[in-house]
Amino acid sequence: MANPKAAFYWAASCGGCEIAVLELGKGLVDVSKKVDIIFWPVALDFKYSDVESMPDKSIDVCFFNGAIQTSENEHMAKLLREKSKTLIAFGACANSGGIPALANTTSREQIFARVYKETPTTDNPNGIIPETKVQMKEGVLTIPEFYNTVRTLDQTVDVDYYVPGCPPVGEQVAAVMSSVVDGKLPPKGAVIGASDKSLCDECKRVKGDRKITKIVRIYEIVPDTVKCLLDQGIICMGPATRGGCGAQCLSANMPCRGCYGAVPGVLDQGAKMLSALSSNFDADTEEDATRIADGVVDPIGTFYRYTLARSLLRRSKA
């Protein structure tokens, strides 16, 4: 029997998910013995035309990381969907927008203005911003369109499986790989490589008095390593975040940022965490509630750090 054919692709992402695959280390060699990697732009030189010329559904499994932020991302998502039997949203960005989706708190115009005009290091006296088509002497130059709103992979094409995480942790990646190799995948639509309970289930910290009198940021205190961070006033997304990562951040005395996304059955991770957190504010009056709430400097960036594109509102008002 021929080895299954695999593809890896990155859209709007940082490359961390690719590193996560490399993190398999020697394991990767084992995988490559059992899987034929036929498309992996980060590691090997492929052209899009190579993919276009493949027959439909000729890729057995495609690991797609990154959110959809440009017309190129979208094009490739659609193309790979056509060519792949199984499409896996790999990593937080493909799953729920990830960090790139925080762009949804602003607009294309503002992003361009900031990046191409306002940053102190920019030297752009004519104020040129990217255009999708530019007429040059030699002909028309085109670049992909930058979208106003970042989307998840499954808001663009049909997705078969979800592997969350920023990036997905090594052991989970290995487990996913071996289930692919063994062809032991759960029913379509499942989240794989993660737990079904929230992170608190695997976090060893002692949860005690849930009265939050003040929100503190991690640089403001030296957190106790035994006590739950929420009890110390540090916003830890753990309670509202799917487990499976082994609470690695917590063991480094850092709060969970929520990269594994919402717990199964929860519609909106950010709103849910907001509710869980604020319900435990030590405030009986509007004044006290406002005072403590003011400690949350950037609510969207805190509660939707990885899931804004997947949230109910998805973006801020244009």
């Binding site: 309970k197 608190c200 849930r210 509202a240 059955g265 849910k272 965490m273 319900s279």
Partner: protein, 655 residues
């Protein structure tokens, strides 16, 4: 989800049909997914209306029912019962309120119809997600807590005790008797208040089934219908109730005299005292603020003279928890503070007195021994009685206090009888609605009481004519003659109205009951459930619900007792199953919910590392549900799925 939903749109006569195009709503509903049948009918709550539902369930095999009619507060139970009788679980039913919150508030039929469609649509969407639920039955503790020992509470306590139930009667003051104990005569029969009240007070003291807890209050009230726990705070009397035989020697020997609250400060009492001679319990109390032992550490005369060693300065505040199944609040009222109406000069002009002060003057054992007199000791030649002080007045209380007209006329009669003075009554309307009341009014007219129809504008000491010199002049517009009148008199009596007690808000919180806009306790239904509250097992009676005269208060006391008895005799009660449940498979033990439950219904299982809800303690508010970041807690009949479906539909179809 393939459900078979039946939708029934009620016309409510013309109450709904007049403003909502019911046919249009039915057509809309019929086209909604999962709807098997949609019908309209004149009165869905009528027997034939309910029959339609039952018949459809049986014949069409309906799995869910929506009735679009009045508020669920009106008929939810009616329809639940009909659904159950039709063979479906009663919780597979949803009510769409298109009357109170749609037809009755609208002025535009088209908009009202659109709204009704949105409301019905949301209910249809929601009902598909509803689940069959079983109600839980719990036994009812037969003991009853009665709070307040005025005539209302006394009546309720005696009724219950006579039927063999254990009653805890908690009274804040050192004695029971309430306001009635301070009155002279009662209208319209003019029998003396004490003569009819004190025998009942004695009955309370002696009844084997009544435990009288005086000088105490309820600081906490928790639990649920049939199974409440009341925390009682007993304030120290500094006199041992068991040892004291009420001889009164201590009071006689006490050297300290202070104004008596019972006498509105007009008479004196000692620092160790009984408010009045017939007090029940017949045990004095020491007033810490004035007692020489407590203020200066000296004296102890009472200790020396007490033949039974009952005085005990070491008594401390004590707390006790009582288990009861029901509670009756008969906490009464406050009188309006007349000094708030500055233009009548109460507190500024001598000889302007309140009606309660008048009662004490007129009372044979009051500060003047029953003599009605002016500050200078003389008998008044003329007296004005001003009605509606603080009542029927948008600046103070809008409501009518219901008793002032009658007691004002009683006072007029007493003035007439005891002094022969000329009496003027300044009134807005005479409200003499009770049995024998109108006759009493006629009698007063024959006694030559002058009735001037007009609310007094002011009482002034500025004389404009020689005849007014040295008098109090009552200025009022006589609305029958259409002129302003100035009537000089020697004494002005202000007929003050009733107000909610100052601690009514605290009490309402303690017992989790609501208050109406005027601040009195809110009954479940103004006509059909006048002594029930929205909290099952808690009843209200007498003037804590709104101003009442003695007959009405007594009737309500008895009615509340009957309500409590009916509950007790049912032996068990059903609890709403709308409690929270935690799915242990989803709970990660994050403890977010743990501190949020006001009833301590959530406990943490340390071995399994999950939270769990004690459903007997859970009252189903849903606070923990909204907070659970894992979506592990669901509130039955208010699940996320149900509410999300309702929200989605409300937004989609609303126009």
């Amino acid at each position: 989800m393939a459900e078979k939903i039946g939708v029934y749109v009620c016309h409510c006569g013309s109450n709904i049909a007049q403003m909502v195009d019911c046919k249009n709503v039915v057509d809309y509903a019929a086209a909604l997914p999962n709807v098997t049948v949609a019908r309209e009918y004149q009165y869905m709550c009528s027997d034939p209306g309910q029959e339609i539902i039952k018949k459809d369930i049986k014949e069409l095999g309906l799995t869910r029912v929506v009735v679009a009619s009045c508020s669920p507060l009106m008929h939810e139970l009616t329809f639940r019962r009909a659904v159950e009788e039709g063979g479906l679980n009663q919780f597979l039913f949803q009510m769409a309120n298109i009357r109170e919150q749609c037809s009755w508030i609208s002025e535009n039929k088209e908009m009202a119809t659109e709204r009704a469609k949105a409301i019905v649509g949301a209910a249809v969407k929601r009902v598909a997600f509803q689940e069959p639920l079983q109600e839980k039955k719990v036994p009812v503790n037969p003991n009853v807590l009665v709070v307040g020992g005025g005539i209302t509470g006394i009546e309720a306590a005696l009724q219950l005790a006579d039927s063999g139930k254990k009653v805890y009667l908690v009274e804040k003051e050192p004695t029971i008797g309430g306001y009635m104990a301070r009155f002279d005569k009662t209208f319209p029969t003019l029998d003396c208040a004490a003569c009819i009240l004190t025998p009942k007070m004695v009955n309370v003291a002696q009844h084997p089934n009544i435990e009288l807890i005086s000088y105490s209050d309820v600081t906490r009230f928790s639990g649920y219908v049939g199974n409440f726990t009341a925390r009682i705070r007993r304030r120290p009397r500094y006199v041992d109730e068991e040892k004291c035989n009420g001889c009164g020697l201590c009071t006689e020997k006490c050297p300290i005299s202070v104004p008596s609250e019972f006498d509105c400060g007009l008479g004196k009492r000692k620092a160790i005292y009984r408010p009045f001679p017939q007090a029940v319990p017949n045990v004095p109390v020491i007033d810490r603020e004035h007692c020489l032992f407590f203020t200066k550490g000296i004296c102890k005369v009472c200790v020396k003279f007490c033949p039974r060693g009952a005085v005990n300065f070491d008594q401390k505040e004590e707390f006790e928890d009582l288990q009861v199944g029901t509670a009756i609040l008969a906490t009464g009222f406050d009188l309006f503070d007349a000094s708030k109406v500055k233009q009548y000069g109460y507190g500024r002009l001598p000889n302007v007195v309140t009606s309660l002060e008048f009662e004490r003057f007129s009372h044979a054992s009051g500060p003047t021994g029953g003599k009605i007199q002016l500050k200078n000791g003389q008998m008044p030649q003329s007296v004005a009685i001003l009605h509606c002080i603080g009542s029927r007045d948008t600046n103070f209380n809008e409501y009518c206090s219901r008793v002032c007209c009658m007691y004002s006329m009683k006072m007029a009669h007493l003035v007439h009888e005891k002094t022969g003075a000329k009496v003027y009554e300044f009134y807005i309307d005479i409200r003499a609605f009770g049995k024998g009341y109108e006759e009493f009014y006629k009698r007063l007219l024959k006694e030559d009481t002058v009735f001037i129809r007009g609310k007094a504008a002011e009482v002034t000491d500025f004389a404009q004519t020689p005849a007014e010199k040295g008098k109090l002049i009552v200025v009022a517009e006589d609305t029958l003659l259409g002129i302003t009148r100035r009537i000089p008199v020697d004494m002005v009596v202000l007929s003050v109205g009733f107000e909610p007690r100052k601690d009514a808000a605290d009490l309402a919180r303690t017992f989790s009951i609501s208050r109406s806009q005027d601040g009195f306790f809110l009954e479940r239904h103004p006509k059909l459930a006048p002594v029930s509250t929205a909290s099952d097992g808690i009843f209200i009676a007498g003037s804590c619900q709104g101003p009442k005269d003695i007959p009405d208060s007594v009737a309500q006391g008895a009615a509340a007792a009957a309500n409590a008895l009916s509950l007790i005799d049912r032996k068990e009660v059903t609890l709403e199953p709308t409690v929270a449940v935690i799915d242990e498979e989803s709970c990660s033990g994050c403890k977010i919910c743990l501190g949020l439950c006001p009833f301590n219904a959530i406990v943490f299982d340390d071995t399994k590392k999950v939270s769990r809800v004690n459903d007997a303690l859970c009252k189903g508010c849903g606070v923990c549900v909204a907070a659970c970041p894992s979506g592990a807690i669901e509130q039955r009949n208010f699940t996320d799925d149900q509410l999300l479906a309702e929200v989605e539909s409300a937004c989609a179809s609303a126009k």
